[in-house]
Symmetry: C2
Subunit: 320 residues, 2 copies
């Protein structure tokens, strides 16, 4: 495929993008009309949106278009799963410069399509417009299948905190890439393409989760949202939080406590939830803490003390 | 309200924006969790997304933030209506520069909220990120209430073409603004803030519409999508297409055939549909043409001939 999106034109690009999509029974009417029609058998639809900007959320020299597509879809599909719902469809709003090679949005769409397939969803529609900076905004939809949505506000003192999926891998990969390295490959891959445990969201709802979220901003920050919404304190036990040996090696090489990546690294989209203390959790869930009555302001502590280096990712703040 | 969005920070801005929203029974769980939950009583959800970029789709010196919000919401809510569905909720992805005054996104949100209210919908969630250029992407959701979706592909030879809503008003207003004028006010207002006839979409479905779309790119261009999807020719009768006297006056003043605005001007979001010839249409629908067997390529003609000056809005094409 040759040329730029400007040469291909809006309608040509849309044709090219939609021709690559696969069908899914949940998408009753796909791209090409005023709107899509998506199955919502539960009579409620779960919906979320996120926007990614080039230079801020991804770099073209660090990630392929395909990986950006996988990641952009993953972060939204994980939000659906973290409500206890099953992803059904995504819609894409894409801003592309006219001089961008056509291969870029095409590979992006392939990545979105493939990540949707992993989660059991499909692309239902979208919009493509021209702009100076690449922007990828994805709306994900999901179905609760008669489950009640698991919000952030239901954690109760006495609950346990458990997590499944990867923690800190993307942050360690980012640290490696920032220093100009391309290995260890497992961490670089984890930064480029997260693997959220989509099935774990509805499974946690069935296991009685009282509050749940996916780890997009970092474990301490995202559990902080649960602590605030539920009016509780959450205390994590560092001894129960696994730091992979290879991650410890990277930490030593770059002079960072790898526990910091595990506690504050976002973008892996692990699923973390509060459960009643008697919940029977499958082996892939690790119990990492407990829910306590708040001592003053609701907050997250690690071994009883605030995690000083912790903090959420503020998109307008100092980090960039 | 003082300061910039950079000074307020991401979470402060989100708090400010969500505090202004109103509730709606369709929004079961609003902003503040991993995802929203929206009622979908029909067991299907209609979904669409559009992105607007500053400088390309709006100008801050021509439109207030409030008007941009009204317009951005309107164009998506109109797409929902044009499927025969009732709008239920929207999600907003917003990109804002750090130096933007806080009042801009706040007034934008007020506009989105108020336009949603006109259409019977509400804001269910969103995402705010920092970027160099303002980008407003809105996802709209709707419910079919047991109606079948009215697509673009069902028009049959013998059907009539009818339209309701405004045509060419936004284009005439744009012509006025482009020449540095701020009046006639009715047309400038129409450019800044369209008034789609939301109720007409579901009503047209009930009246037996065989194909439907909203006029976002221009009457001839949007009917062209119906002609192509349905494999038919659509012939419009210029004598049946009303050109308001005031629009004719502007046309004369700026040297443009006002019929051109009516036939090719987009953004008013009128609703145009094909109906069986015996459909009993209420007075606000004007019959403006008929559906014929295609003579060669499916197309739209005016009084039997192609409308030479017509053409869709190609976002990567020459127009800007």
């Amino acid at each position: 495929m040759k040329g730029t999106v400007g040469e291909l034109g809006e309608f040509g690009l849309i044709r090219e993008l939609t021709s690559r999509l696969t069908s899914n029974p949940a998408v009753r009417l796909g791209p090409g009309d005023d709107a899509a029609v998506v199955a919502a058998p539960d009579r409620r639809v779960v919906a979320t949106v996120d926007a990614l900007i080039e230079g801020r959320h991804f770099r073209r020299d660090w990630s392929t278009a395909y990986d950006v597509g996988r990641k952009a879809a993953a972060q939204n599909l994980a939000d659906i799963a973290a409500m206890g719902a099953v992803p059904t469809a995504v819609l894409l709003a894409l801003v592309v410069p006219a001089d961008l090679p056509v291969t870029w949005p095409v590979e992006l769409m392939d990545g979105i399509r493939d990540e949707c397939q992993v989660a059991g969803a499909a692309v239902a529609g979208g919009d493509v417009v021209r702009g100076d900076t690449i922007m990828v905004s994805i709306t994900a939809l999901g179905d609760l299948r008669n489950r009640e949505p698991v919000t952030r506000s239901g954690a109760r003192p006495g609950d346990i905190i458990a997590v499944t999926g990867w923690l800190g891998w993307s942050a360690a990969g980012f640290a490696v890439l920032s220093r100009g390295f391309r290995s260890p490959r497992a961490f670089v891959e984890a930064h480029r393409r997260p693997e959220p445990p989509y099935h774990a969201g509805p499974a946690a709802a069935d296991l009685g989760a009282t509050a749940m979220t996916d780890v997009s901003d970092g474990l301490v920050a995202d559990l902080g949202h649960i602590a605030t919404a539920s009016g509780v304190r959450i205390d994590l036990k560092s001894a129960d939080i696994d730091v992979p040996v290879q991650m410890a090696d990277i930490g030593q090489a770059v002079g960072v406590d790898p526990l910091h990546w595990v506690l504050t690294g976002g973008e892996d989209h692990a699923i973390v939830a509060a459960f009643p203390p008697d919940a029977k959790l499958p082996a892939r869930w690790r119990i990492i803490g407990e829910v306590l009555k708040p001592a003053g302001t609701p907050q997250v502590t690690v071994d009883g003390a605030p995690w000083d280096k912790a903090g959420g990712w503020d998109h307008f703040g100092g980090q960039d």
